[in-house]
């Protein structure tokens, strides 16, 4: 029997299970059976990958770095969404205020998402550090720790930080470009009330991570099957829309340097966060 490849995924929203059921059906129809295991947080999922309870993990960028850390770098990024590449976060302030540069955030209040959110906390704080501003020393940091462990997948903390800025309780916050586009497009945010004071350098987001020891032929077969999903195929399109992509691309590892610097400078893993 063709043994299913076991995929791990972190979910917080029940509807996500439907996406995985669709993916499972697609892989079965392509003769490359998979099954999935859901985890409540990335720490458990990375542990399961390292312990080989699962073959492949759908990892956040922070979970990717954690897997590298725990395996001494012996991981591969098999695939990612087109939308996982070259993301940026915007540092947002209120429009018409006195803050026009990052330097002018000195002595101010910066609101962030969950402490483990790459896009709404870790990377923006690294960008501020590179601009000479360190949290607690140069500005007051207010965190919105919504669903810690899910690495900011749940945008609640990011949205709460933006709300905090809107209410005048903070002077800046950080928002992922895709969320900014979505929220300004659907009316959640009135863009006229805000200004973008800076944008981070590009960084990559999630990837499907396997250990180096995962069978090469199975990995290639799985990756080739995944990449046969097509956005112009109606059966795939709904799932791809829900997952936010138009094409699966090969995994690349060159887009994690900014986050890697962030976790090192903020001693994220050492702090036991």
């Amino acid at each position: 029997m063709n043994k299913p490849i076991l995929i791990g995924a972190v979910i917080y929203e029940p509807k996500v299970a439907v996406i995985w059921e669709t993916i499972k059906e697609f892989f079965a129809s392509e003769g490359c059976p998979i099954d999935y295991v859901f985890y409540s947080n990335y720490e458990l999922q990375v542990r399961a990958l390292v312990d080989r309870h699962i073959d492949i993990a759908w990892n956040s960028p922070l979970a990717w770095l954690d897997a590298l850390r725990q395996t001494g770098g012996r991981c591969r990024a098999l695939a990612m969404r087109d939308t996982d590449r070259d993301r940026v976060s915007h540092l947002v302030v209120r429009a018409g205020g006195s803050i026009r540069t990052l330097a002018e955030l000195r002595g101010k209040v910066v609101a962030t998402g969950a402490l483990d959110s790459p896009q709404a906390t870790l990377i923006p704080l690294e960008v501020l550090r590179r601009a000479g501003l360190t949290a607690s020393r140069d500005f007051e940091l207010v965190r919105f720790n919504v669903l810690v462990g899910k690495h900011g997948d749940h945008v609640g903390g990011e949205r709460d930080a933006l709300g905090c800025l809107a209410e005048g309780r903070a002077d800046a916050c950080a928002v992922l470009d895709l969320n900014w586009q979505s929220w300004t497009g659907d009316g959640t945010v009135d863009p006229a009330r805000f200004a973008l004071v800076a944008t981070t350098p590009p960084f990559d987001h999630c990837n499907f991570t396997a250990l180096e020891s995962f069978d090469e032929a199975r990995a290639e077969r799985w990756t080739a099957t995944l990449r046969r999903m097509r956005y112009d195929e109606p059966k795939h399109r709904e799932m791809m829309d829900q997952e936010g992509l138009k094409a699966w691309l090969p995994g690349r590892t060159s887009g994690y340097e900014l986050l890697s610097d962030a976790v090192r400078e903020q001693r994220f893993f050492e702090s036991g966060a």
Partner: protein, 150 residues
């Protein structure tokens, strides 16, 4: 000593997403335990349970009204149920809580010509004599209101 009577059903798995349940001379087709999809071939087990409670209360209300010689012109009951933690049902590693129903809420809309005092008594009797309400309300928070429309 309480009188005793037992009801029996027989269930057979037909294939993925379909179980046939035989009850006396009737057949029910049940889909998944708790589906999250927008559409399926068959109602889920949860929907059957909510549907059974809804039917029990509607039928019970009409029967109680008939005992009081009241004519019910129309009834409609909408129920919504949620699990304590649906992620436990989905098997998410690390989640806590349980997969059972935690809350059921809804409103029974009725068109009936009766004063408030009579309707209150009628509704209380309906709930008291409802096998499913009396079962579920001991296991979950069940809040079903009566509303009269004209």
């Amino acid at each position: 000593m309480a009188a005793d009577h037992a009801w029996s059903v027989r269930a057979r798995g037909i294939g993925p997403g379909e179980v046939r349940v035989y009850a006396r001379n009737q057949v029910l087709r049940v889909g998944k335990q708790a589906s999250l999809r927008d559409a399926d071939a068959h109602p889920s087990a949860i929907e059957h349970l909510l549907g059974a409670l809804a039917a029990d209360l509607v039928e019970g209300f009409v029967a109680e009204a008939a005992r009081r010689q009241l004519t019910v012109d129309a009834t409609e009951l909408r129920l919504t149920g949620s699990l304590d933690n649906v992620l436990v049902h989905l098997g998410v590693v690390g989640e806590t809580g349980h997969a059972g129903l935690a809350h059921v809420t809804g409103t029974l809309y009725v068109t009936v010509d009766a004063d408030e005092r009579v309707l209150d008594a009628l509704w209380a009797a309906t709930l008291a004599r409802s096998p499913l309400y009396q079962t579920l309300s001991r296991a979950a928070e069940v809040d079903v209101r009566l509303k009269v429309t004209h």
